[in-house]
Amino acid sequence: MRLTFDKSDERFREEVASWLNEKLSGEFSKIKYRGGPGDENAFIDERKSWEATLADGGWIGIGWPIEFGGRGASIERQVIFHEEYARAGGPGRIGHIGETLLGPTLYEFGTRSQCERFLPGILEGREFWCQGYSEPNAGSDLANIKTKAVFDQSTNRWLLTGQKVWTSLAQESDYSFVVARTNPESSLHKGLGFFLVKLQQPGIEIRPIRQMTGTAEFNEIFFNEAVCNAENVVGPPEEGWKVAMGLLGFERGISTLGQQMLFQNEFDAVVSLAKENGSAKIPELRTRIAEAHIGLKIMRYNIMRVLSGFSDAGELQPAALISKLYWAKWHRNLGKLAMDVMGPEGEFLIDTPYELGRLQSLFLFTRADTIYGGTNQIQRNIIAERALKMPREPRG
């Protein structure tokens, strides 16, 4: 156990901080604090060029291994980066699905040439990715995927037909990784492939779905013989499930580091509002703010504990299984606390037709935290069955 950062890490912190401060003071100052949860549609173009700027600074993929174009940064340095990013008010990342989910999956499961083709686009902040997993009838039961992929020998391409749903940021993305059924006879997690699909093509239609925040961060994607070249299938075409699950491991583990650092900003906003509007004097709210503080600290200690284990063993420990559930619940409670701290003023929008303030967005968006990336109920099943090795629930 070592609970401090060493000297060279602190120098790294200064480097990150001064770079961010400089870059966020010019043309990008208007996107500071923007594009976060519930505000994903704000300043899309500016945030895309911000990604390219980040890439120029060498700040995308800092945790990736050096051989794949990353910096091989330690967990400590990744934490420092995300802390400083949050402190500087860095805008919501459009590139995070590529950077934190697809990239690691590719260097773990992909071929050399797949890495050469797709990793640079991510590292350079040029190509944006979305996650094509869920379907109308495959939510928690992800293995019930019906989108089918048929191999066309003559052209050496796969043709995908079917529908994905709830795909975040699809309308802003260039590619989607798509899980589809390659073997029509198969069921559950057998006979699925993991495809890297270009979105701008005739066989694909994307329709935004409006959320209760009034914005449309997620979409439906319709595939009608959409094309995917044979070389863009990750892993064997009938064994994509393994790849898909590997990616989920990243989703529930290290990828949320950046997000969790933002929690401190949100918590601070709630505390300062409470001081300002007198809520801090109300016993009920004082108690809940104290609880939120305790939860936040526990969460950060735990993520450090889990991630340091991760760097040793190369694989998530059982303790990692609890983190998605814990932060999602904490965050949802913070959203409610924020509304209660706002009091009667909490209902007022900041603009027509339906523009939410920061804490209102927080409140509504955190209602999704306990759903995406595996619902709380599914997370508890995972904890019970994988960490505690309890008997599996009867399914299907």
Binding site: M212, E345, E347, G396
Partner: protein
């Protein structure tokens, strides 16, 4: 000691429910969102004809003379459909307040309400904001001298404030200081508390209905939606989510009915009872909003799905009429006061 409602009270509830569920559908509410700036006059007229609006006005003035115990069930039904028209505030806040006052003018106002000549709204004692001010002829409020006045809306400058609840029409009023004085400031303390109590009670009763609605939506969805080849309602985790809401709801009900009774009888501890009811009912609604959404998965998070109509309404009802912090603090003050009665014989006090 009897918590049951009479046959008559239940019949009235049923007919109100039938009317409201047929008329106030989610699609009609959504239509209203589009035309933010106009009230649904047609609906108001119908409710006037039905006598819901004048339900609590004394019989000698042409109303039905219902009390808060009679009306609580109707308020629940209004909550169930997320009614946008300020029917519950009219019946449970404006009318009782006017009935508290002496003199001819308040009686005249009540008669005008019965005839449907105009509407009357009331300013929130916490924020000063007024629901549906634009369709009202008068707004009841306290002026800076702490006198209760009836301001004529035509003299005021209104600006509409957009709410997180998309259909809600709420206004801030400027230049509305003067108006006919209804009551001097010697009764300010009493009337101020009276106003808070009536609003809190109105919100609590509607919250029960909203809770039921969100629960119904989730229970139905959990029967239809299949995952792992089974209805999701067959999974214990989903069952428990919704059973917990049912428990909160059923246990909130008697506290709201208790408050209705206290209000009706002017019980000395009515403020305590109302705070209790507001907390319990709004907590039930808050749990329903959270758990029903959870049971729906991503579907419940969409704009097109109706759940958010009800969850956003319940949020607003919880934040207004005294929020959770206010009512918990008021409850604690009362509990810790020296004359607070403790012990088994005080169960129902």
């Amino acid at each position: 000691m009897d918590f049951t409602f009479t046959e008559e009270q239940l019949l009235l509830r049923d007919s109100t429910r039938n009317f409201l569920t047929a008329e106030v559908t989610p699609s009609r509410l959504r239509e209203r969102w589009k035309s933010h700036d106009v009230a649904d006059n047609d609906l108001w007229e119908k409710m006037l004809d039905m006598g819901i609006i004048s339900a609590t006005i004394p019989e000698e003035l042409g109303g039905s003379g219902l009390n808060s115990v009679d009306f609580v069930l109707l308020a629940e039904e209004c909550g169930y459909v997320a009614l946008l028209e300020p029917v519950v505030y009219t019946a449970l806040v404006v009318v009782p307040l006017l009935c508290e006052l002496e003199g001819d003018f308040p009686r005249e106002l009540l008669s005008g309400l019965v005839r449907g000549d105009y509407r009357i709204s009331v300013a929130c004692p916490f924020t000063g904001l007024v629901e549906d001010a634009d369709t009202s002829a008068f707004v009841l409020k306290f002026n800076s001298n702490k006198e209760l006045v009836a301001c004529s809306v035509t003299d005021a400058e209104l600006s509409q404030i957009r709410s997180i609840d998309p259909g809600r029409r709420v206004f801030s009023l400027k230049e509305c200081e003067s108006g006919k004085v209804l009551m001097g400031n010697n009764r300010f303390e009493f009337l101020h508390e009276f106003l808070i109590n009536s609003m809190a009670f109105a919100n609590a009763a509607q919250s029960l209905g909203l809770t039921q609605r969100m629960l119904d939506l989730a229970v139905n969805y959990s029967k239809d939606r299949h995952q792992f080849k089974k209805p999701i309602g067959s999974f214990q985790a989903v069952k428990h989510l919704l059973a917990n809401v049912a428990i909160k709801l059923e246990f909130a009900k008697p506290s709201v009915y208790r408050a209705a009774h206290s209000l009706h009888h002017g019980a000395p501890k009515r403020s305590l009872h109302i705070s209790h009811a507001k907390i319990a009912a709004c907590e039930a609604a808050s749990l329903a909003a959270k758990n029903s959404l959870q049971a729906h998965g991503a579907m419940g998070y969409t704009w097109e799905y109706d759940l958010h109509i009800f969850s956003k309404r319940s949020l607003v009802l919880s934040a207004t009429g005294g929020d959770l912090g206010f009512h918990k603090a008021r409850l604690l003050d009362s509990l810790f006061s020296d004359d607070f009665q403790l012990g088994p014989t005080a169960t129902f006090s």
